[in-house]
């Protein structure tokens, strides 16, 4: 018992000292730069070191595979089956020609016509475009996270040790650090905005509010170890405009808001989110809707229009896809925000999946699990491009305008521009899409049938 006592106090002392040191380091290297918006470049160095380590790890895996005389397989990116590039018409023509020798201009039905649709159906059952987008994008080199490894059996002892070390660092060092930072950031945001809210309206309040918001978002960015590269900052959104971006995860908000001062739009939640939202709105006019109001599209449009028309109010931040997509493509934009008639500032966000997969698969992970995954990844690396502003031309309607903006974002971010509705992840296809293919075929068969006399 005697021996334990001094030992105990020694341990306690050591613990106390290390915690103090940690927090001082935290303050100096992370929080203070966040307040002033400068960066020491520590994260960039961290990123470079990590890349070197990943390359080494991949080499080891390959060497391991070579020793065993197997070949490693790169996970498929383009799907698992070869889809014929021919169109409906060509295929049916071909089959008919080889069969009864009839041309397609006699609009009649042939027994063999069923074949094309049958094969297409089986192809989509085996592998389809849309569902692929909704699971996390598959990587080429291993990033020391066991979540993303397909060639697991080729790992040598050295690599396992490295991976173990990685786990230790991520869970025991990085995670508590990040949680502490996040905590600091959020509490500063809530208290800061509440305090600023008591000030009388005026330039002082605006100035303080802007800086409180920016500071807290910057702390949160560091809490996630997000390494962001901003391009074309001269195109940043201005007052009276709407900022539109593609959506991969809830972190998008933090990434954009740490570089600009926006008015958020969204539904009021309960719990911690609700507290944050209510505090924020005291300092500057964000647009929050009650749950019941969200369904009423006209009300939503009215409030947004009012906000946008007031030039003193901040640009609105909106994610028109409506849900999180896995960052390899951009899905259909909902037309609501494009009907308002304000200038649209498109922004493209592209994450680099090598360091940590930012995609939130909301049907697979809840919010807390997701945040935990984010905070135990190495880092979140992304690029943000501010595209030049766009306005709706007189001859296009809201849907066409939305599609134009979507293409611009997809092109800039190197993402695939898909026509599909992001809401498909949860709902079923709208009936209008079903008709396209059927219409085409029936036009082929029966197109001129109305002219022929019925026999």
């Amino acid at each position: 018992m005697f021996l334990l006592l001094p030992f105990n106090s020694l341990v306690v002392n050591l613990l106390g000292i290390s915690i103090t040191v940690l927090f001082t380091l935290l303050l100096v290297f992370i929080i203070v730069p966040a307040i002033f918006g400068v960066s020491f470049g520590i994260r960039k160095v961290y990123m470079k070191t990590l890349l070197k380590i990943f390359q080494w790890a991949t080499l080891r895996i390959e060497r391991g595979a070579k020793e065993k005389n197997h070949t490693l397989y790169k996970p498929y990116v383009n799907g698992i089956i070869a889809k014929e590039p021919t169109s409906l018409e060509e295929e049916i023509k071909e089959i008919r020609r080889s069969g009864s020798g009839k041309a397609l201009d006699t609009p009649e039905f042939e027994l063999s016509d069923i074949f094309y649709f049958c094969r297409k159906g089986i192809e989509t059952i085996m592998d389809d475009e849309v569902t692929k987008r909704f699971s996390a994008e598959e990587l080429e080199s291993w990033n020391l996270l066991s979540r993303t490894n397909y060639n697991f059996q080729y790992i040598s002892l050295r690599l396992t040790v490295l991976w173990g070390l990685g786990v230790l660092i991520r869970y025991c060092f990085l995670l508590p650090l990040r949680v502490a930072l996040a905590f600091t950031g959020i509490s500063l945001l809530v208290t800061g905005t509440t305090v600023v809210g008591y000030l009388p309206n005026g330039r002082c309040k605006e100035f303080l509010s802007k800086h409180v918001h920016l500071m807290c978002y910057r702390i949160c960015v560091r809490a996630l170890t997000a390494i962001i590269t901003y391009h074309d900052r001269e195109n940043r959104p201005r007052n009276g405009g709407i900022c539109v971006a593609n959506h991969t995860s809830p972190i998008d908000v933090i990434i954009l808001a740490s570089d600009g001062y926006y008015a958020m739009v969204g539904q009021i939640h309960g719990g911690l989110m609700g507290v944050i939202q209510r505090a924020m709105v005291k300092a500057c006019p964000h647009v929050w809707f009650e749950r019941s109001e969200v369904k009423d599209r006209r009300l939503v449009a009215k409030r947004l229009t009012e906000h946008v028309q007031d030039k003193s109010k901040l640009p609105i931040l909106i994610f028109p896809e409506g849900t999180c997509i896995n960052n390899t493509s951009v899905m259909m934009f909902k037309k609501g925000s494009f009907e308002i008639g304000a200038t649209v500032y498109p922004v493209a966000i592209k994450y680099d999946p090598q360091f940590g997969d930012a995609f939130w698969n909301s049907s697979k992970y809840g919010m807390v699990t997701y945040l935990l995954r984010m905070m135990t990844s190495w880092a979140i690396v992304c690029s943000v491009w501010y595209l030049p502003p766009m306005t709706r031309q007189p001859e296009e309607d809201a849907v066409q305008f939305a599609n134009r903006v979507k293409s611009a974002i997809a092109r800039q971010g190197g993402l695939v521009d898909l026509l599909w509705d992001g809401g498909l992840k949860r709902e079923k296809v709208k009936d209008t899409f079903k008709e396209e293919q059927q219409k085409l075929y029936s036009k082929m068969i029966a197109g001129n049938h109305e002219d022929r006399s019925r026999s």
């Binding site: 080499l59 397989y73 069969g99 039905f109 074949f115 498909l424 059927q438 068969i445 029966a446």
Partner: protein
Amino acid sequence: TTVTSEQIEHLHRRFKQLSRDELTIRKENFDSIPDLEFNPIRGKIIHAFFDKRNLRQESDGLADEINFEDFLTIMSYFRPIEMNMDEEQLDRFRKEKLKFLFHMYDSDHDGKITLQEYRNVVEELLSGNPHLEKESARSIADGAMMEAASICVGQMGPDQVYEGITFEDFLKMWQGIDIETKMHVRFLNMEPIAPCY
């Protein structure tokens, strides 16, 4: 068969995705494939997965759910030709595939495609066009059926009734069409990573 183990693994992953990690798939699981909604004969294709005749089971009718083995059985109807098949194998291969298509038409499992069943298929295929009246679809189907009858039975007397297309007649109609080279789904080869030195 020459389906490789990687291909089976792929299909297994796909099966798990469709079945949401359960051991069997039901009809409802196919609703999660948005691209399939495009397809006018979607109902018939899904039906084909549960058709006991296609599953090579002794009994007749429809299964409620299928497991991975059944899934593979159906997929095997779409495997590509192998280079070293002889005449007899090729013929059997072709008949198998055509039987699959025949079962799609013959919805009441009586071994014949009747006029009503034929009309049914045509209507489904043309169902997407809102401008096409039901009458037109019907007359197209009737015309095609008459044509089929003339190929299979030759000239019919005025009192003769054509009962339906049997499988042998069905085979006749597909003569000359190389179904075995077209009715397949090819797997893309996985690209092996070139090892760095």
